[in-house]
Symmetry: D2
Subunit: 432 residues, 4 copies
């Protein structure tokens, strides 16, 4: 048990309050202006040093961000009452990093909380608690159906407890409120900003994920590696009847690319996947299509396998363009690179789970999806640090990304307690 | 010269007035509710017997009509002041047939005027006369850039002169104000309604078409045969990562179809064409696409060649669906079947051109496009009648379907005079 | 240790003699006329009841048999001195089943020995023992490079020992000398003949397979499921310049099939494979190809996965034919359905291995290839019997199907001893 | 009528004799060693200056020549009694150019005679005159079924008459006995050798071609432009089951290329064609194919259209290779570039036809095939000379390239007379 003091009952209630407020203002990836402004205001009040925009996110590495949607989100954030100062500091890029520098020597420990909602319409059924209790989404077609509202609440709660116990801490504590986790669009840019480069330990978690209330999974397995991409083919239109030879058929190129991508050879070493989920092309029925936009993804059981698939996609994209005399732009839209916990950190969690309030503590469980945290974990490990990503159980009313999704709100408190225990233990190891 | 009396100067001015009014209220194919109501009101006033909806258009053969756009067009027509009675008689289907029955034995002669505008934004440049003079389109993104406004004006002018000279006429005169000529979407349905089945002679014309002011082309050549179609592929979605084998990939089927359609073998007997102008498919990046909609067309130098192409498309559509285990619906969206004038009618026009006010009368010129009148001409010919389709020259300010398109308004009068002379001559032949 | 008597030294030498004689007369799948005739003559002499042709092989289920090669093989067998009576009984279909019916109640036990050689040229290097000692292949381009000559020798040796010990036996013993194991072309037809339907226990083995001399593998794992197939597309030729539309392009259909087969969706449940290894099509450069022959295969980690792949191939073959207006014949050329040993039999072998002369007895090892015995094992199991397929270790001079392949001939004796021990044990269980 | 003297009756009989002898020794393209040696021997005897090998054929531009077949042809020519000296001079390349240099100033006039046979089996029916009279092909599967034996006979006859009338001639006369006309494989190489670069007038003809006996066609129309090509894809084999990702699939690349070539867009300006007539690929069923060879051709109504098609083929070949990570070699195998006569030469023939013994002289007739002479005509015209290619009528017993093909042998004489008249006329014009 940590030696930090806080009123668990009161904290649990505040966590619920935070989560419910955030739940009302869901914002999709790269649009979290209001959310960021509220987090920033709160942390500034607690005396954290804040970092925004290119301090925490390398602009060149941003993926899957739509300027038009960002513009609309900023306007809406203002209408909802976002504080202007934060908006200016964000400079169009959401998310905030907060640092508590104790001034005392000690380990640098970071926690990551993802903050974005998903583009799903929230249930308006009385059986859906957020609707029944009146804290459901104010933004049509967007809702916190993945539990990131709870993640933010946990982060705010942790920030409070740390601030209250500032005198008992050493080293630096960093709290990363990450935008655009969905689609794995921000992790790479955050890693490459360098903001985590002085971190010795990184901890992240996800609530739910088919883990029941009370259970802690210390070392989830099989994080999917995946690349999301758009292919934009640009050709030349021509009247299909009058001069069929004069066009450069972007649709023909796109169709060639689709057929060939589906035929990328299977790989000896394991599971691979490829999909083209969308194709939009053409203007008029009698015009050879000038443009074609194709949205796809690759997956692999590990990083090498996904890289194999993505390199094949690149080759096919260029060959399809060449085949039909058109140009192609390949735009990365998101990437997950897998995630491998450090054994020492897994062991630490395994030891601390029960005292933090979990009734079942297990080591492994299949994850089977992708996590943007992989980039952050990898960066910390590259720099000699240790990292862990765990699953905090919560009974759910419906699956993730479903409009009826709701969590067991009482499961946020154990997460905060676990984090405090981790800090306590890591600091004890270096006897600061 | 015909023995009919009318004041040419006054008529010419009225033609211009009619045309300018119609120009302000452009309506695209199947949306010509206001246009039809104005024509109907005028002809009713002149004592013509009017026919609407399934009297002139066989519902089952309608192609390329969008219920939603029709609904919007009706509402706008009401706002513009369309008369309610006509709207009721139309019953959702635009166009009107008018008959002047002299009660005296004689040939039945029909004239066809197409009434629809095109989905092109009209120029707002001072050099564009309709804009400068203030009679430009009141409907954003739609304008009379093909000259059908002039066709309607000619039809109304002809109706007036005929009404004034009713006592000198015999047989029946039918004036067909046809909707949805663009895309060849109504001709088949009109032909199959049977409204033209008692017609001995059918005459139609187009203004402009790269024929200069003053010239009459009596026998344009090489009308294109074409089929417009939509292919709707319906598969089954599945998560592309979790169970790639469980989907039925509608996009894969559509891409196969596109590639294969572009590879339909060339034909020994002459020019063929195929194009897929649009493809829309898919929902999410990681979902195997459930649906794909593809818009295409075939063309042929003659009817047999186009039929060859279209049958290949059907075969490919079914085979592509079978290949990927999906369903496909093939929806005809328009069809042009070529057009072949009767030599006797061509000769008649050739003789009458000069006395009708044309300074150059030529026999042949390449048409090189499709004309929905082909169905009407074919129907009349099948029933033993004679038909002719001619080109009335007019200098243009820009090509057809261009926002800067404008005609030489003085060229409408010779068309009316030609039609009156045709009637005079055909009636003289049978000495009624 | 079995209670059967035989002189091990003498037997081992005879095994070697048999093997060397057979090695000189290698015959590929469905061509084993000389081999069969020699086996039959030997077993007849030992008083076994023999079964040939459709008694042991269902004609309709034969796969991958070439009439022309069979004809040539029969002629060569006569030249080599095959006995005419056996050739008549074979009736064109190789292989022989032999039964020793003790007339006493007891279990029916079957052993399977595959007899075909492979189409590989044998090494003519002095370091290759068969060449150096003068017993190398008399048939150019064919050799026993898979060890089936040793399998036959083991079968003949077992037959002798059983005949010598006839009085100590009960039940029936069946010895199946199977043709066409390579390419998995006969197993299905043998199973469906019903000849094994009264069998309580089936035992089969393979020598070598990367298992060293002295080792017995009792339960090899991961037998591949695979289907071999030919697709013959039949179209209609036409002069490509003069009437491109008149052909039915078999090559276009084949190419479509190839591209689409390579794009069969991956399967959730595990490893799948597809390959087109050969395509031959066309006559003249300027003729639309009338015929195209394509040779391919599917594989799956289990039977369901291979079935999934093969059904997709069938669907694609038919759709590709439809696409290009050609016909297609799908000819099964071989099939392997996996192989799952019965645990009780595995345990029996595990117990008996050491006393049979194996120095290492292990349970599992990856097999990673296909085995035609799968059909036989499955048939016996379907009828309530038990079956086992094991690996008899032998150091090799080169890999299977390599022209330098040679075995350790001393490893045949332990196989015979194992078989005798199995019989002894199974008969003891029922105390016959 | 020319002022040259010769005995027509005797000449006609010699032409027949020559033709019949040549008919017995047919040799396919690039294999005409015996034929060339006989021509050379004859012309040398008549005192012509002879040119062989790279004097008349640029080696780098040779197309569609198979070293192995050439080797076999040389051996057979020796067996048939070809004279060794000619064989040495040929240096492996067939054909011979002969010059008669009068030493007097005057125009340089060339005549072209193609000498190769076709790979067709000659009829052995008594109704087939060559068989019945005993002068049918001595080479199985090869015969003069296109009439080039008659062309050579005409050339030899002309050479004799010229030699006899040497004193009445001025300028230079060049007789080109061209190999490998079939498949258009030599014309380019001959043109580029420069041997015709000093020629003022070039004349060539074809016998038959659906023109009846007695008719001369002075200006055949619509010579096809065509390119013959082989694509050799070279990839990397791999076991399709064990490491499907390790191969570079040459067959997949070839199939992609076939599908895409068939989909080259039609061209506004007229008729185009493409065909892949053969595809051979692969070794084993379970091996990813390492090599694929594809034989194809393009055609166009004119040179630009064929060039358009061929450039698309090149683009597709490279893109298909890139798509599948393999290499591709594009090997030109033949090319025809169209042929356009000079009007003045056409007029000359039109005037001289009747006096040369033709009963009908017509200007135009569709040719509809390709002619290797196009390259020669083009070269002469590029250098400021005039050229003409005409059709010498002959009733046929069967179509060209048919085993029953035979000509009306009496139609050779008018060709020689026409040529003499042309020389007479052209020399008269310059009054030499």
């Amino acid at each position: 048990m940590s030696n930090f003091f806080f009123d668990e009952q009161a904290l649990s209630q505040r966590l619920i309050n935070y989560r419910r407020e955030l739940h009302r203002y869901p914002e999709a990836a790269w649009c979290e202006f209001f959310t960021t402004s509220r987090i920033a205001a709160h942390l500034k009040h607690l005396d954290y040093q804040l970092a925004f925009s290119d301090q925490i996110i390398r602009p060149e590495s941003i993926m899957g961000r739509d300027d038009k949607l960002v513009q609309q989100a900023q306007e809406r954030a203002l209408q909802w009452g976002a504080d202007t100062e934060s908006l200016i500091l964000m400079n169009g890029v959401t998310g905030v990093g907060a640092m508590l520098d104790t001034g005392r020597p000690g380990p640098n420990i970071a926690f990551r909380f993802d903050i974005d909602a998903v583009e799903v319409a929230e249930s308006q059924d009385d059986s859906h608690r957020p609707y029944f209790l009146g804290f459901s989404s104010l933004s049509s077609g967007v809702t916190h159906a993945c539990g990131h509202d709870a993640h933010v609440a946990i982060g705010l709660g942790l920030a409070e407890v740390l601030a209250e116990n500032r005198d008992k801490l050493c080293g630096k504590i960093k709290l990363l409120f990450q935008p655009a986790e969905e689609g794995c669009r921000a992790g790479k840019a955050i890693a490459e900003s360098g903001w985590l480069d002085d971190v010795d330990y990184l901890v992240a978690a996800h609530i739910g994920m088919n883990v029941p209330s009370g259970t802690l999974v210390c070392d989830p397995q099989h994080f999917l590696c995946s690349s999301k991409f758009d292919l934009q083919f640009n050709g030349k239109p021509a009247h299909a009847g009058i001069e069929p030879n004069a066009g450069r058929n972007a649709l023909a190129a796109a169709c060639t690319a689709v057929s060939q991508m589906l035929a990328i050879p299977r790989h000896r070493d394991g599971m691979t996947r490829v999909n083209v989920g969308q194709l939009m092309s053409g203007e008029g029925r009698n015009v050879i299509p000038e443009k074609a936009l194709l949205k796809g993804e690759t997956r692999g059981e590990n990083r090498e396998l996904n890289t194999y698939m993505y390199q094949q996609v690149e080759q096919i994209a260029h060959a399809s363009a060449m085949m039909h005399g058109v140009d192609v732009e390949i735009k990365a839209q998101g990437e997950a690179i897998g995630l491998y916990n450090d054994a020492s950190m897994v062991n630490l969690l395994y030891r601390l789970g029960e005292q933090s309030g979990f009734t079942h503590v297990v080591r492994e469980k299949d994850f089977g999806a992708s996590e943007d945290a992989g980039y952050l974990v990898d960066r910390v490990q590259q720099n000699g640090g240790k990292a862990v990503y765990c699953l905090v159980g919560s009974d759910l009313t419906a699956g993730h990304h479903n409009g009826d999704f709701d969590i067991d709100e009482t499961r946020m408190l154990p997460a905060v307690k676990l984090y405090m225990n981790i800090i306590s233990q890591l600091q004890a190891e270096v006897s600061c």
